[in-house]
Symmetry: C2
Subunit: 338 residues, 2 copies
Amino acid sequence: MSPMSPSIKDVAVHAGVSVGTVSNVLNHPERVAEPTRAAVQSAIAALGFVRNSSAAQLRAGTSRSIGLIVLDLANPFFHDVARGVEQVADELGYAVVLCNSDDQTSRENRYLQVLEEQRVRGVLITPIEVSSDRLDALRKRGTPTVLVDRHDPRVNCCSVAVDDVVGGELAGAHLVTQGHERIVYFSGPLGLSQCADRLTGLRRSVAAAGLDPDAAIEVVEIPVMNARSTHDVARARFEQGEPATAAFCANDLMALGVLRAALSTGRRVPGDLAIVGYDDIEFAADAAVPLTSIRQPTQQIGRAAAQLLVEECDNPDTHAHQQVMFKPELVTRDSTQP
Amino acid sequence: MSPMSPSIKDVAVHAGVSVGTVSNVLNHPERVAEPTRAAVQSAIAALGFVRNSSAAQLRAGTSRSIGLIVLDLANPFFHDVARGVEQVADELGYAVVLCNSDDQTSRENRYLQVLEEQRVRGVLITPIEVSSDRLDALRKRGTPTVLVDRHDPRVNCCSVAVDDVVGGELAGAHLVTQGHERIVYFSGPLGLSQCADRLTGLRRSVAAAGLDPDAAIEVVEIPVMNARSTHDVARARFEQGEPATAAFCANDLMALGVLRAALSTGRRVPGDLAIVGYDDIEFAADAAVPLTSIRQPTQQIGRAAAQLLVEECDNPDTHAHQQVMFKPELVTRDSTQP
DNA sequence: ACTCGTGAATGAAACGTTTCACGATCTCCA
DNA sequence: TGGAGATCGTGAAACGTTTCATTCACGAGT
């Protein structure tokens, strides 16, 4: 049924040349004379030859592909990051292997294993835990690694992130300015520096306004940062009566969950509850109440990360690790209109 | 810097066994005696050995991975399909290579090329054009192919889709029941059988209600099926004055675009314009006006497609192509409340 | 004591490329 | 006429596995 696909050798016989020549046509066309090249090309077409990349890579010893492991492809934020990565990789002649860890360590580990076995040149990752033995091991084996939307406290690799303290401050200052004195922060796991940093920023701006952060801010930690989980937690709170007049959410999916919970428990937004999200995904503008959000330069994060990685792959010796940090930006919409 | 990673041979030397034994430890542990196995394992750990999958695959001649090419990862619909595919592939021991063609033929072709070079066992694809030379060539070379969310009129491969005529009918019947007599259909390219079929269903239900489809339905064809393009087209129409009282959209992203355009030109939804979307993505329920939509069993589509593909991969000789067709379902929300 | 069987490990061949040192052939000019 | 370059092509080695026929060791059965 599937007749073993033709090899370079079959092409060589068919074209009446040696295998080396066929290989040259494939990889260094300028080294072979026009008529020969044409003969080989037509043999390739006639036989329907397709290069076996396993063999090529085995012999060459190195591939031109990089791995990208994101936390949650369902979140448009990561989708945009991936797009940025692909753009740059494309320009620089690298292929991207896209992996979705879905916030599960087992999946993350499996993908890391696969990428190592494939001998990718480097890995871009938004890891579940910043410092993992597996990542260290990977780096030790000489595979360049760049953290995406994360930061390594022990600066031993490149990273690209956004200043989350500033993000938290922007959100907090905005809410405080509107007179809110009780703010609930729907956070992801506080073990994530992102979530912790946003809280730091939030507290800072609250304090700057002369309020006591401990009294003004309540933190609700939600393990899975998606709409459904957040909706469920928020709804339970709202049914008991919510003391806060404003909610700050660690991402827009969570904000959508909070919004749905608020509306379905009869609250008006922003009248009864103002909401600020994070990421400014495309859907934020189309939500039931268009969401105020903290915008991150999403595609740029991906682009910068890919550039750093490729730089390190191409100059492993002279490379010095860098920590790129972008600034977030406040986008106001109805969900916080006074 | 990157010290050539250790091979199976290094492990063999370190453990004092032959390479064949190391390979057996890796692939058929039951064939090797306990003490030897332990020795090899510790050598592997000591050296940080990672199998080179290129070499393995080259020798073995076949991989256990399948390719999945989707049209638009930014659309949650495809994301859910991918999730279904991954679930099944996982269960059956296959790895999935996820590719996003982004509706560009050049990208689709590039990915097909890569997948062929990697000698994947099979390909799941939502192609840009159902009948393409490339796909035919792929199949001719013996690579099983399954169409996802598409249908092959010349039944020469498996496919999984949803009955789009019924979907169109559901939408049309719902709108007609509510008294609408002028419906604008924001369609994707009518070359897509999906878009054409939905129109067929829409016309059928309108006709069934005693109206003249040609008079009642206006078709607006939009080349790129996303929110932004649709918004722009819809807005231009609305600013001229929209004769229709109801809009049916070929997917929810488009519906969100129409919704935004309607609201921003001062229309009330559903008062001035009722809207029906398609796919029932998660965001549809959270939209400015929660969207009535046609739900498709998204994950199931992915699951079914993966099952068909694996079945064909495992039994290429006895396999008979199948066309699986699911039924869609109407979900009513505020955007069409009378 | 001899063979037989069994379980365990070996070692070489093969997979399809790329690479590279080496020929072969031609061109040009002293 | 001869030799130096160019220009093209060749063929074998090597990449790191898996596979499989073979060897080895050892105890059981006669």
